[in-house]
Each structure stands twice: as C-alpha cells, then as structure tokens.
Amino acid sequence: MPLAYTLPSNLSPATVANTSSLLRIVALALISGAAIASRLFAVVNFESIIHEFDPWFNYRATKVLAEKGFYEFWNWFDHTAWYPLGRVVGGTIYPGLMATSGVIYNVLHALHLPVDIRNICVLLAPGFSALTAWSTYMFTKEMKDESAGLLAAVFIGIAPGYISRSVAGSYDNEAIAIFLLMYTFYCWIKALKTGSVLYGTLTALFYFYMVAAWGGYAFITNMIPLHALTLILMGRFSSRLYTAYSSWYAIGTLASMQVPFVGFQPVRTSEHMAALGVFGLLQIVAFAELVRAHVSSKQFQSILFGSVIVIGLLGVFAFAGLTYKGWIAPWTGRFYSLWDTGYAKKYIPIIASVSEHQPTAWPSFFMDLQFLIFIFPAGVVLCFRELRDEHVFVIIYAVVASYFAGVMVRLMLTLTPVVCVAAAIAFSSLLDTYIDPVEPEVPVASTEAETPARDSPANVAPGSATTSKKAKKAAAADASSSGLASGVLAALSPSGKSAKPRGIFGLDSRALVIANALGMLLFFVLHCTYVTSTAYSSPSVVLASQNPDGSQHIIDDFREAYYWLRQNTPQDAVVMSWWDYGYQIAGMADRPTLVDNNTWNNTHIATVGKAMSSPEEVAYPILRKHDVDYVLIIFGGLIGYSGDDINKFLWMVRIAQGVWPEEIQEPNYFTAKGEYRVDDQAAPAMKNSLMYKMSYYRFAELYGGNQAVDRVRGQQVPKTGPTLDYLDEAFTSENWIVRIYQVKKEDPLGRDLKTANSFDQGKKRKKSKPLSRRKAVV
C-alpha cells in the first residue's frame, strides 16, 4: 500500500500506546491551564473581586457557611432581605455552589492553607472550567475517539460562550453547573453503553449534585427521557437502556427530592412528568419484551402490542386528568415562556425585563462560538452517518439546545457544550482523513475505460436512440466509480459497509487542508482571547474607561457609594433601590433592602416600582410605611453609563402597572408623540416621578449656566431642575453614577413637608389655596 510520507517503523506498539497516552495527559493538563488562564483577565485587569449581581448573594451566603457552619447556614433566616418580610435562605436556594466552596475552604484550612473565602469564590469558576474541559473530553471520547475528545476539550476550554459565565469572580451557579451537566451526560452515555448499574447510579449522583447546584437541572431531567424515548421509537430498546434509565430515574429522583428548594416538585410538576412517563413506558416495554421472549404465538404478540398502546393511552389520560384536577402543577411561567415566546411579555414582565432573557441575534452566536457554529452541523451529519445510540443523544441535544439558545441569550450556555462536541467530531474526522499517510491505489483499469466511455455518446449517430441510451448508461456506470455523485452515495452509506477504496493522494492536498485547518484553529484562539479580554471580563461593579492618552481609568462609583452607606448610616437603615442592586447593597453595604435579585415577590417589586414612578406626595407614604431611610438610584447621564435607572425606568412602570393598572400607566410616561424624553418636553408624569426628580436633582447646576446634557439619552436637560420636598440628597458619587437620598421624617409641627419647605424658604402661603391636609402616615 503506497504511503504519502514514511512513518518510523521500528517502534513497538506498546511504545506508541504509552507515548500517546502521555501526550494526552500533557495535552489535557495544558488545556486545563489554558482554560484557567484565559478566565483570569478580570483579575489581572481589575482585581480579585466578585462580579455583577447574583454572585454577591452567593458570596454572602458562602461567607455565612464558612464562618458559622453548615447547619447555621441551612437554617439561616435573612432578616435584611425583602424588608420587612425577610427570606428563608435555606429553602429558597440551590445550595450546591456554596457547599462546594465551603468544602474546599474547610479542606484547605485542614491542610493549614489559610486561603480567604473570597479568593475561593473568585477562583471557583475557572477551576471548574478545567474540570468541564476534562468531562467534555470523556464525553466526546465516547462519541468518537481520544483525539476528538482533546479537540472538544480545547474548544470548551476557551469558547467565549462558556467563558462569559465562568470568568474569575463570576461566582454563580453556572460556574459549576456546566461541569456537572457534561459529567452527568458522560455517565449516562457510559451507563447506556455498558448497561451497568454502577454508571446508572453515578449518573443519578451527579444528577443530584446538579439539582443541588442549578435550576437548569430540568434540562437533564428532560434530555435523558427524550433520548430514551427516541431510542424506544427507533426500535432500539435493550436491557442496557432499561437498566441505565431505571437506576438513574429511581435514585436520581429520590435524591433530588432531598433538596428543600426542589422538594416534591419531581412528582408534582409538569416539567418532571416526561421523565416519569418514560420510566413507566420503559417498564411496559420491558415487560412486553419479556413476554415476547417466552411466547412465540403471533396472535399473542399482537394482543400485547395493542395492550401496550392502550396502557400508554391510559397513562396519558391519567396524566391529563391529574393535571386538570390540580394534582400536577402545569408548566411554570419561566418554562412556559420558552415555548410560547410571547407569554412572558404579556403575563410576567419581571422575567421579560431581564436582558439575558431576550432572544439571540446571529452576531451573538458568532461572537460566542466563532467557527464552531458552522462546523457543528457537519458534526451532526457525521453523527447521523454512524448513528449509534450515543450519537442519537448528540443529535437530540443539538436540536433542542439550538432552539433554546435562539429563544434566550442566556441558554447559549447549554448550547456551547454540544457545539464543541459536534465540531470536535467533524474537525477530528477531517484531520484523521488528511493526516492518514495511506494512499489509495490508482485503479488503472477504470480510468482507461472511462475516457472512451465519456466520448461514446458523441460518436454515436443521433438517429439511433437506443444505442445512445445504452452508451449513456454504460458511461454512467463507469463514471460511478469516480464521480462526485458516487462519492456522495458512498459517503452516505453507513461507515464500514462501503467497500470502495478511500484515501487522499499526494502531499500537497494534505498540506493544504491541514494548513487551512490549523489556520482556523489559530484564528479561533485569537478570537477567543479578544472576546474574553474585551467583552466578558468586566466585573460590572468596577467600570473601566480610557483616558485620552490611552491609559486605563477606573470608575469605582459603586463601591464608593456602598462603602459610604456602610460607614455613614446606622446598621438597620433600610435602603430602597431597584431590585438589580439589592444583592450588591446587601453584600457590600450590609444594609437591609426592600427588594433584591431573587425576584420571588412580584407585588413587593411593584411597590418599589410604584414609589419610583409616582409623584413625591404619593411616594412618600409608601416610603414611610416601609421604613425606608435611604433611596439609592443609578444615574449615568453625566458620564454616559447606559445601564442606569432612567433606562430601566419603563420596566419599573410596567411592573407597577401590572399590579396597579389604574394608578400607573405606561403611556403617560411618553410624550404625546410617543417619545421617551427627559428634556423640556418630557411627559408630566415623567417629570413628576420620583425617579426623574432624583436623577436630575441639581444636575443642571453642574454645568454652571450652560446647557446641561444627558449623555446617555443625548438630550438637553431643563436649566431649572426638579425640586425635592420629601427627600434630601445624602450622597452622590464621584461620577454621579450612584446617588443616595435620605427620606425626611415627618415635620415636627405636623405640617405637610411641602408646606414646611416653602415656609422655610420664606414663601407666603396663598390665602385662596385650601389648607393642605396632613397626610395620614402610619
């Protein structure tokens, strides 16, 4: 057999095996290093700090766990959140993340390594990303081979789609959840392949860990049953499937019910019913198979077939009946909004208001996955070509995840692993084909026979139709040995069955394709580095801008303001802000908040929304009734920070309108022409709202008589700014991003605060005006 290039032939197979295994280990170690290192941009550029919003709560909870122990954490009632309601933390969180850091913390301290809990929290996500790379390697190894596994590990290690959720400091549930997801899937595939109860139990254990760590466990709860169901429908039921699924479902469900936040949901909500249904179906099918193995009568089998269908139908009806009676809760809103995409906007604006719940435009896919996104369909086709049981899993995962990622930006995270796996399969198949030194033998006979056959139709006289047809047929038959169409046909036939010779001629074709492939990989690395360093490594607590000379300028307004609150206000001063900042205030300022990012109580959030969007007189009783001492708002108009409260204001209005449709109405906040303005022509409701007043209070004075400009909206703000009667400006940060107002106490003389203010300013009360009544304050 001819070779394109020579290989050393004096190596024993054992040496080759040992070397390749060593190389694999080294490669995996390097991949882990790359995965961790690329996530440290945030620490290098800024500092070791917890990012964004939710991580601040996780960090706070972890601190409680580390300082006071697990039982204290488990029974923790947080009085400072959702003031005055409080929050039962143990029963309303997924504790997996905090427990993981707690275990690491205790192990390190037992080894006399006094690592700060904050550093463990900051570095947990990069650490787990290395484990994710390893589990993706194991998963892909089951799909194709080790080399595809290594490629998949590299891809997931540096793909921005996963980095976006796991940079250092992004201490969120997703940080460990993707590792658990991939490892659970790996165990499932392994269990399915071997039919071993051990792997089935391992699947269940990792499933339990996943349930304890992330609400997205419902994805596994539905993926595995869907895979099992598809296999049954394809006629691939086997005792291995039965063993794997039954052991996973029985142990996994019982284990998942131990998490207090999940409780009895696995038997009472629709999200989990698919798993239960497939479990029942498997029992029926297994029983039918058993009977069929012992009875040979054809009639009996047909009866059995009928009864299987009847039982299945009965099961469906029973399920429908239970749902109708209310024993099984229907789909929850969050889940339902994935199918009916208009649902969330209509009925649950609080879900629709979150930016990561928006649908995904194509540039996001490309940004997050670059060339993987277009190789991944090729990998799916390769899976179809072989179509072993585990390939069916990848195919289902690909379809489901690409739909979900299209509906919600956030679910890009679940798409990334399957894209990496499928792309690795395609890419490694390509490299396998072109690195293999074996050249096919040139079939001399066929090439010679082809040339006359090609010419023959032209030579035949046009009158004799029959001969020309024959000649064409002959030509087609000959050409089929080397034509494009035959190549496609040969490629489509499942691998191994086609007897046709296969291989690449010459070195130049190989060199070209491999150079092309290496170039794409290199480009991918550049792209990932660029995206990670620019887009995904900002802590959002600390902002960065550039000075005119190009050096970095750090904007640290948030921490400045939170520390001001911490040091200048009493410990029990209640701070009201929009829910986005609840966790940060609790974490950094350590003050009670009205609402926070755990958006469990819509009415409470709507109350804050109403206070923000109402005029001062209406808002003041609300503030006083909730014991609010300080109101904190985010204002970006001075330096052009676009994520500020005026831009989020419409969501406050919308959410408040959902609860008080008569008092708050969204159209009132637009001008007559339907524009959202903050300048002279702003709508009256807008101008009188507490949020507007607090944002622009004394803003025009900053410009010293010149025209004040809001740099986010690009609009000119009126020269005479709003006045405040019921609030006092308490603190404004350096760049005006955070502004804190103190709520005034009632006037000691029992006057309306407005009247008291005008009295202080020396204004005479007009006689004609009726005496303003004192507001009843409870």
Partner: protein
C-alpha cells in the same frame, strides 16, 4: 289670566332639567345601546350624555376613524375586537349591563369631541369610571387603555373587566378554518402514511431536518420571530445596524453561509476521499478549501459590519 301660560313657560327649564336627570340619561343610553347590538354610536351630544358629570355608570369609549378617506389601518384592525367585546357585554343580565356602556365615536360623526379632547391619533380607548354611586372610585378623568397587548379581543375583554360591574363574558369565537385545516392535514398525512413511512424511517430525511433546524435557529430566526423584525429595512438595506439586532433576510444569508461552510467540510471529509482519480481529487480538495476560505472571509466581513470594533479580518 296670563299667569298660567307664564307659569307653564317658567316650568320649561325645569322640565328640561328633569329630562337630563341622571336616571333619564341612563335610560336613554340603554335604549341607544339596545338599538345597536350593545354598542352606542356617539356624536357630540350623546358623548356629553355618556360622560355626564353625575354619572353612576361606567363606559368604554372607543375613538376611531373608520372612513376610508382617513386611511387609518389600525382603526380597522381594532374595530372588530371592540365590537365583539361590546356584543359579549350585551349578554349580561340587564341589571348589570345597564351600568356599563360601550360606545364608538367616529371622527366624522363627533369632530367636536375629538377637537375638545385634542385627540391626534386613533384608535384610542377611554374608560370612564362612575362619578357617583357605589362603584365610584373618585376618579373622573378617563383611563386610557394601553394597547401594548395588541388589538386582540381576548386581552381587551380581560383588561376592561377590571372596570365593569361583572366580568365581560367574552369567549373567542371558534376558529373553524383552523380546525378544518388541521383535520384536513391530519387526514392527508394518515392516508399517505404508507408514502411517508419510508421518509420517516430514513435517517437522511431526519438529518436534513435536524441540520436545517439548527442552521436556522443559530442564524437568529427566533430573534426575528419574537421581535417581529421586518424582512429588510427601509431603502433596501438588509443588514440591520447594531450588534444585538438583525433583519429577516440576514437569517437566510447567514444560514446559507453556515450551510455552505458545513457542507464544504463534509465534502472534504466524506466525499473527496472516495474520488479515485488523483487529479480530480486534487481539484476537489483545492475547490472546497477555496470555498471555505472565501466563505469564511465573507462571514467575517459580515460580522465586522455588525460589530464595528472587531479587529480581525481574512481576505475581504
């Protein structure tokens, strides 16, 4: 004896005043409503009756401009929904029904009212709450209905039910056409089961379906559907500006580019090795490698249009 006619003359204003007493107005409105399927057609005078300052009833007033000359397309869309909800209300028992009225004021019949209210756009829906009586909530200014839920009748009935004495018994009409089509398609599929079975059993039919689905989904199809983006922008522009934004045509172009690139990879991996003629094989390898390089460059340049700060580029 001039006194008697004089007295009679004096009493005329009282009679008039009596005729506009609240009960009479309500009776008149009930008659007007009954005459037209529960929907009052308003002009300037009946508008004033309906929004009587001492009213004990509530009302939903729909301002519209249905005349073709006004060219108000949304008016035509909303009108059937409002009429359907008004008709549903007329099935409520009279005791409750007469406490809420549905009315339509067309621009061409009630120009004065439109001017008085300074109304610039249509359709607009005002809800007037009772000024007096047990259902009064102390608000006399009308509530403006928020069209954020669209022009459909179901959400309209849902929202208006907050202001009516009892729930509006609106039920969406059965969409026979939809059921008919579904039944028809199911029948055709069932009858052709023998024809379709080989397709259903063929793995490549499924492969095509799966690959097309994932291509379309990863090109932002759901974004276009959920946001209701147009196929292309004004003046023939087909690339939407902005990173988090796209038009319908971009889905087609991007999924085509993705598909072409994926198939080039498949060709190189699966088909080319079966080519037993060295020169033709070489040609194919060069061809597909070229396709990959060129299409990838096109894709990058497309991406650079969307994300202007992206620093890398290939050939283009």
């Amino acid at each position: 004896m001039l006194l008697l006619p004089f007295l009679a003359l004096l009493s005329i204003p009282f009679c008039l005043a009596a005729s506009t007493s609240v009960e009479d107005v309500q009776e008149k409105l009930v008659k007007l409503a009954a005459a037209n399927n529960g929907l009052i057609k308003l002009d300037d005078s009946t508008y004033n009756l309906l929004t009587h300052p001492k009213r004990t009833w509530s009302s939903s007033i729909h301002f519209t401009a249905l005349d073709p000359r006004r060219k108000c397309i949304p008016c035509k869309e909303f009108d059937p929904s409002f009429t359907a909800v008004a008709k549903a209300w007329s099935q409520v028992p009279a005791s409750e029904r007469n406490n809420h009225f549905f009315a339509t004021a067309d621009f061409d019949n009630a120009m004065g009212t439109f001017q008085k209210l300074g109304m610039q756009t249509a359709p607009v829906l005002h809800v007037h709450l009772p000024a007096e009586g047990p259902r009064s909530r102390g608000r006399t200014a009308p509530i403006v209905y928020d069209f954020s839920n669209g022009f459909d009748a179901a959400p309209l009935a849902e929202q208006l039910s907050q202001y009516t004495p009892v729930r509006i018994p609106y039920r969406a009409p059965v969409d026979w056409a939809k059921y008919g089509t579904t039944a028809g398609v199911t029948l055709i599929l069932l009858s052709g089961v023998r024809l379709f079975l080989p397709i259903l059993r063929s793995r490549w039919a499924w492969a095509i379906g799966v690959v097309l689905t994932s291509l379309v989904m990863t090109s932002g199809y759901m974004f276009v559907r959920i946001r209701g983006m147009p196929q292309s922008g004004a003046n023939g522009q087909w690339i939407a500006p902005g990173y988090q934004n796209q038009f319908g045509q971009e889905v087609q172009v991007v999924s085509f580019v993705y598909g072409l690139l994926a198939s080039a990879f498949l060709m190189l991996t699966l088909v080319t090795p079966y080519q037993t003629h060295p020169y033709r094989q070489r040609l194919q390898v060069y061809l597909w490698s070229g396709v990959i390089l060129v299409m990838f460059s096109v894709l990058i340049s497309l991406f650079r249009v969307k994300n202007r700060s992206y620093p890398f580029k290939l050939l283009l």
